[in-house]
Amino acid sequence: MYDCIIIGSGIIGSSIARELSKYKGNFLVLEKENDVSCGTTKANSGIVHAGFDAKVGTLKAKFNVKGAKMFEKLASELEFPYKKNGAFVLSFDDDKTPLEDLLNKGRSNGVDNLSIISGDEVRKIEPNVSKEVKYALYAKDSGIVSPYEMCIAISENASTNNVKFEFLKEIVDIKTNKDHLKVLCKDGTHYESKVVINASGVYSDELNNKISNIKYKIVPRKGEYCLLDKEYSYITSTTLFQLPTKMGKGILVAPTTHSNILVGPSALDIIDKSDTDTTYEGLNEVWAKALLTVPSLPKGGIITQFSGIRAHSIDDDFTIGFSSDVKGLYNLIGIESPGLASSPAIAEYAAKEIADYLKLSKNENFIAKRSAIKHVRNMNDKDLSLLIKENKDYGHIICRCEVVSEGEIKEAIRRNPGAKDLDGIKRRVRAGMGRCQMGFCTPKILEILSQELGLDLENITKKGNGSVLLEGRIKE
């Protein structure tokens, strides 16, 4: 019997797991994919919104503003990439009113360091911004984070603090069993727990609806992106939003924490929640709108495209808390943007509520720190020489584009929860995330995975669930 089972290891599930591990208890995370951070958390804009955008008085506003302020400490404790880079909301209109409304909303939400500046002042900071921009809201406290690296860091730390993670566990049903809950997995296994936390992202409505009479509805909304080579990092170091118009929300051009340029997202309501295919129309729309912000954006600089699914709730706000009709069910529904920015605050709040409910005592042995995998590309000569002397694998470069060593890749596999497939390696150490997109290192990484996991090459996958890479041996 667990004290608490967390369904889903996106940023919400993993953050709550870590916060819970500050208390004494028996905690388990069940995830349907092969790894943490395989849902929306791996494919979003990665902006730590300052909080001026959310409607005053909503949970979105409350958790966003609080959460954003927690990032600096969290990122230094857990060593994931985060940077306060500032953001502009660009207006192409001579009328300043919409920007002023945004500024006032931000101030009411408790956001500091907001101002309105002229187009010329914007271009002094970011010269590639279009001449058509007349004014902008400047939010100095806006930041960027690598969302999957954050989720991985948090999950590793939760695991260090004795939270258990199990993968390829898709929950198909939740049932009440006397004074506790029972979750049933697709593979026939089941688990019992006093509290079940529904942090299943776009599926959170369906899981809740299986057991609760209070029904929710998530409308999955796809957002597509293009990512540019690091070569073009000069385009902007500030996040560039467009002021929403009647034509829609506009799209952003922003740096990532690894100096690529991210362009997107589109917004399209879809039916299949697992449909993360990019589309010809979507990508074209993204590009056309991005050109309004940066007219010189180079199409030849694109190295990859991807899409993420927003868990848009028809209630248009987060739902966070115990179900009012199912004892022990704790819901996180409709955690769309700014869900990532809000996640530290949401997790702290939820864990506290759950710990109070279960009357858990503080875990005196909680370890707050997690250290990142050492990256050869960031090290100075002295440390690097020492490291290679200690472990020669750090001198063997596997990924040429991002300069990633065999040592880093092995470490990614050996950590807990560790990488089990190509995508898992990619998200942990960036091997294959550069401009050749795994062209050269795929065969080598396959081999390392096979050795480390003790699996045949033919059983190594791109992302679990049958995404095998090889179809047997050649003719002898």
């Binding site: 990019t278 990859t304 050869v376 000569d381 690097l384 290679i388 065969p443 791109k462 050649i474 003719k475």
Partner: protein, 421 residues
């Protein structure tokens, strides 16, 4: 800090040929740094025949061809380090390299960059669709099959008719896979004609020109691709959509010179070739840093790579031995009317008249044209070509009197002239 006269980055055919020629000129303090565990570069995975017709007058496989150069390097006792990746070069020619035995800091008098090129990935051509497994660059598939002995898939569609794609079409058939089609965006192939005949026609593999892949389907592994014809502006005509079932998509959509190191050393790169901008000594804007082979511009034939590399070796030797090879001003060649680029791009102004070869590529298929070089107002070179195509590099061999005019011109133009004019 270790010191060497000549450091060669990359032990592919270019690096090896450069080392041999520098040595034969008299330079003995040479070191080749190679990140793989074998010399030979990309040739190691090209196990098909067809290499070396120009150099050795016989047909060799890639590894056999490479071995000839490796043997010559060994005969001369030229030093090399394997499993050693150069991670940084500065503009004052300090080199940082990593291997399992540690970190090397090397100071060089001259550097030859011969790091080859890599394949353009899916993202670079913006194909929408699923991110399932089963999408490979043709070169990766070649490595998996030829070196590791594994099949990347059974039912294959190939996008792009570059040479590697063509060669892999035949290879996959030999291994029992089905190759359903080769899809080419342009109305012509960027591959060599002989490869189209030997790798596709002989196996009845359809080659669809003016088509592209517009969608990839399949949640976990690729299940099909959707293709469509394109219009003159290369935009897909959605009404011509058709779906082809397959479990694998191979991409052969071009190669990009690998110039991270050059960029880090402040070497000026060409926006067209993506290689360095070099003068006719193959020297970059950074004194003492040379480029040759596929890192400079993508070659069709390894023989041409080696010819160019040999030249780089000689020039690096001359530079090291203070033959003042850089004390002259340079004239930039202007490419016009169908000519995309030339290598070299800069011509040194002096009175040398040693024969010189200009290499160039055109931007489209043109029939019945003259390839011309104009120095100021004089056409110094003119050659009739029944057909020129982007897939085949053109070489203009200039004789001593032409070279002299070239070197003394204030403007140099290279262009195509249609002979109907």
């Amino acid at each position: 800090m270790e010191k060497h006269n000549l450091v060669i980055v990359g032990g592919g055919p270019a690096g090896l040929a450069a080392a041999i020629s520098a040595y034969d000129m008299g330079e003995t303090d040479i070191i080749i740094l190679e990140r793989e565990s074998k010399l030979g570069g990309i040739l190691n995975q090209c196990i098909h025949n067809g290499f070396g017709l120009h150099t050795f007058n016989e047909e060799l496989t890639g590894p056999e061809y490479a071995q000839r150069f490796i043997d010559e390097v060994n005969k001369r006792n030229i030093k090399y380090l394997l499993d050693t990746t150069v991670i940084n070069i500065t503009n004052d020619k300090h080199i940082k390299a990593l291997s399992t035995s540690g970190l090397y800091n090397i100071e060089a008098k001259a550097i030859i960059l011969s790091c080859g090129c890599r394949e353009r990935p899916r993202g670079a051509i913006n194909i929408a669709g699923s991110r399932a497994s089963g999408i490979y660059s043709a070169g990766t598939a070649q490595k998996l099959v030829n070196i590791d002995g594994y099949m990347p898939g059974k039912e294959v569609v190939i996008l792009g008719s570059g040479d590697i794609g063509l060669i892999m079409a035949r290879r996959m058939i030999f291994e029992g896979a089905k190759v359903k089609a080769v899809i080419e965006l342009m109305p012509y192939s960027s591959g060599l004609n002989r490869n189209i005949v030997q790798c596709l026609n002989d196996f009845n593999i359809p080659l669809l020109f003016s088509h592209t892949v517009i969608d990839i389907k399949g949640k976990n592994r690729v299940e099909s691709v959707v293709i469509a014809e394109v219009d003159e502006k290369l935009n897909p005509k959605l009404e011509t959509k058709q779906e082809i079932k397959c479990d694998t998509l191979l991409l052969s959509v071009g190669l990009l010179p690998e110039n991270e190191l050059a960029r880090g050393a402040d070497v000026n790169l060409s926006r067209i070739t993506r290689g360095a901008i070099v003068d006719d000594n193959l020297m970059t804007n950074i004194e003492g840093i040379f480029e040759c082979g596929n890192v400079l511009h993508v070659h069709d034939l390894v023989d041409y790579v080696c010819e160019e590399a040999k030249e780089a070796g000689i020039k690096a030797y001359e530079y090291i031995n203070n033959k003042d090879i850089n004390n002259y001003s340079k004239t930039e060649i202007i490419c016009e009317n169908g000519v995309r680029y030339t290598v070299p791009e800069l011509i040194i102004k002096n009175n040398d008249n040693i024969p010189l070869t200009l290499k160039l590529r055109v931007g489209n298929v043109y029939k019945k044209v003259k390839l011309e070089v104009k120095c100021d107002d004089e056409i110094i070179y003119s050659r009739l070509r029944p057909v020129v195509a982007p897939g085949e590099m053109e070489k203009l061999d200039l004789k001593p009197d032409q070279v002299l005019k070239l070197r003394n011109a204030n403007t140099i133009k290279v262009y195509l002239r249609s002979i109907e004019e």
